[in-house]
Amino acid sequence: MQTTLYSGFGVWDPVIWTIAGAVILLLVYLFWRSGVSTYRKGSEQERPYLSGNAEPEKNAVHIGGGNLYWGFTEGLKGYYSRLVPVHTGDLNDYMLWYFGVLVAVCALVVIFQ
């Protein structure tokens, strides 16, 4: 079966890619296996090690979604502080946007006829 996708500019063959990925995973597995195994299930090793301190409660360890990408939104503060308030949740504003776009597109179409 032919699996190559010709985009007209290049080719993309997912099967070859997948086989290559599988070979790499196999190699990784072989390397990993040849290491020294000192891991024992159910022993002290399964517990998290925090420099000898007591482990905090589970909820305190997990980083929730709200904390991720804080730096990104902080860095683009100027953009987000304008963009987010536009989503007002007010039905009147939604309709205003629709009619605005309608008029704008109409104008564009008439100008660039």
């Binding site: 989503h87 949740g89 007010d90 009147n92």
Partner: protein, 114 residues
């Protein structure tokens, strides 16, 4: 000029409907604006289909004259029914929102935002 009058009425009524939807904050009034807009669409369709001196295409003892294909009238009837259904649904939503939020002002119906 006189034949253009209904189209002017369509624009006027549609304008009233759109203005109501954009300017009124009360949900019931917005739904009313929607009803007005539906009305203007119906008027527009019926006006399009009007042919002066035409008769309905009912062949039983039909008088002399040009028969008019009544597609537009059928469309209008369909749109009236659809308009009725949407208005009923929207009003039902408004009732439910009033029960849950205690208000039908669009300024208060914005717990989903940002």
């Amino acid at each position: 000029m006189l034949t253009q009058l209904p189209y002017l009425a369509v624009v006027l009524i549609a304008g009233i409907g759109i203005a109501t939807i954009l300017l009124k904050k009360n949900l019931i009034k917005m739904i009313m604006g929607l009803g007005v807009l539906t009305g203007s669409a119906n008027l527009f369709l019926v006006t399009l289909g009007y042919r002066d001196g035409g008769i309905a295409p009912i062949y039983t003892s039909a008088p002399e004259g040009v028969m008019v294909l009544s597609t537009v009238q059928a469309m209008t009837v369909t749109n009236i029914v659809i308009g009725f259904a949407t208005t009923a649904l929207l009003l039902a939503f408004a009732i439910m929102l009033y029960r849950k939020y205690g208000s039908v002002e669009t300024g208060d119906i914005r717990r989903l935002r940002e």
